[in-house]
Amino acid sequence: MAQRSNAATTEGAATRFGLSAAAFVYLAAVLLLPLAAVFHEATRKGLGAFFEAIGDADTMAAVRLTVTVALIAVPLNLVFGLAAAWAVTKHEFPGKSLLITLIDLPFSVSPVISGLVYVLLFGAQGLLGPWLAAHGVKILFAVPGIVLATIFVTLPFIARELIPLMRAQGTAEEEAALSLGASGWQTFRHVTLPNVRWGLLYGVLLCNARAMGEFGAVSVVSGHIRGLTNTMPLHVEILYNEYNFAAAFAVASLLALLALVTLAVKSLLEWHHGDELAGARH
């Protein structure tokens, strides 16, 4: 990006100052104030209350469930992202653009609807509900339902990161490796994967942040059983609705910290490997 100092294509000093000031005040009010408020409310009653809220057995159970769900959902969506990107970018077939649109579909569905569809499928009055009940399989209001809803809402993240990246890289390197006698798997493992590693990490990062923070979809399928089917965001809601604000914000501050770490790593990736993500960013 060229430095623009040409008088004809920049504003006067007063306009520049005014626009910048307006932008900073807006950002401070809309983004920084809530961020500051989370940590302020979390430590309001002192650090003792903060650590007591975090060390609480129900909170620890919520943290464990959130991590477990992310550990299942993210790797599955990673395999899906790689498979979808390989099929879409290294091959030609009819209906490709429809498939890409369908992969993006979960992003345009309300989180509540993402949960609702599983209630309609697995609920007591649902299509498969009676069969599941007869066989003693519990999906809804149990961990499998939470995992499914999380997979649904985070499904596009890794695929939509990899598809533009692998499309921009083309197939020449893979073709070269294959013509030199590499097997398909070797080509993928030693040629394609190293080429997309930063984009892959970028997608995993965003996928994980959403998986750990998802509220609407998980709320619908969870049943809110304390210590059993409560993820961290759901635990925040329960504590808040019980007017236990200090504890609610203590757990919320952990999630805010996760968001800040995600943003930091994401920015580092963009600064150091921006060229390898460039295809994905625009």
């Binding site: 030609e92 609807i113 965003l206």
Partner: protein
């Protein structure tokens, strides 16, 4: 088209198509398409007349109106300030610019429930911002003796949706603005156009597709938003109850058909928006090349 012809001329040399497309379709089908099909099947039980009856029920209609009205207002605010933020970030140099740029994505990274309880606390009558607008606050006095109530009113819904939708317009406009050729601006200026006229006649038309795309994305996100809104909305039926919350309420009443009908109406609108966004991006790309 050309790609398809090219693909046919050279037989497929890269292996693994069968495995990867098979896995992709099976996974997508089981996780997304079959469950969404269950929703459509449930809604179909009601028939078009039944869905129409649900959508025009007074409480449902009020919720849909609030969801779309507040989302439009929030997306419009985000279009204006998103353009301002993108402009300042691309055109001006100031210390900490990269930090500010990184912070823009905070609403994407912050879990919605965290945003929800924080905004509700900030904008309540005794909160940092809500207090300013209360009857005895120094901004509230402008709105009469009772001040301006933000949390637990439709205004609170707009506040939450403005937060959630902030990154969209910034992130769609930013790259277009960065790639924008300064020569046409120089030409306009040398022909005597004022800075503002140059912006309005030269720059704005070039970034309009990106701006509109960002607006539509912010709108689509806002319409379905749940976690950040329900804490600040107050959720009073007919007044500050959003459509996604109504789906949850119907589910808690075991009224699956009612929940599906509201969801179907929302999905239909979401698809129209998705289609519009795709169309805009295609126009954008056609213009770029």
């Amino acid at each position: 088209m050309l790609m398809a012809i090219g693909g046919r001329r050279h037989p497929r040399v890269i292996p693994g198509f069968g495995v990867t497309i098979g896995f992709t379709l099976a996974y997508l089908g089981l996780i997304v398409l079959v469950p969404l099909g269950a929703l459509v099947a449930k809604a179909a039980e009601l028939g078009p007349g039944g869905i129409w009856a649900v959508a025009t029920d007074a409480r449902v209609f009020a919720a849909l109106r609030l969801s779309f009205g507040a989302s439009l207002a929030a997306a419009a605010i985000n279009a204006v300030f998103g353009l301002l933020l993108a402009w300042v970030l691309v055109r001006y140099r100031f210390p900490g610019r990269r930090l500010v740029d990184a912070l823009i994505d905070l609403p994407f990274a912050l879990p919605t429930a965290v945003a929800g309880i924080t905004l509700a606390t900030l904008y309540a009558g005794n909160g940092w911002v809500g207090g300013l607008f209360a009857g005895d606050g120094w901004l509230g006095a402008l709105f009469g003796p009772d001040g301006l109530k933000i949390a637990y009113t439709p205004l609170g819904v707009v506040v939450a949706l403005v937060f959630v939708g902030l990154p969209f317009v910034v992130r769609t406009v930013q790259p277009v603005l960065a790639d924008f050729d300064a020569e046409s601006e120089e030409a306009a200026a040398s022909l005597g156009a004022s800075r503002f006229a140059t912006f309005r006649r030269v720059v704005l038309p070039a970034i309009l597709p990106a701006l509109t795309t960002g607006f539509a994305m912010a709108l689509a996100r806002a319409v379905g938003e749940y976690g950040s809104v329900i804490f600040i909305a107050g959720n009073i039926p007919m007044v500050s109850e959003i459509a996604p919350l109504l789906i949850v309420t119907r589910l808690e009443e075991y009224n699956y058909a009612g929940a599906s009908a509201v969801a179907t109406v929302m999905l239909a609108v979401a698809f129209v928006l998705l289609f519009a966004i795709n169309l805009l991006q295609r126009l954008d790309r056609a213009q770029a090349s």
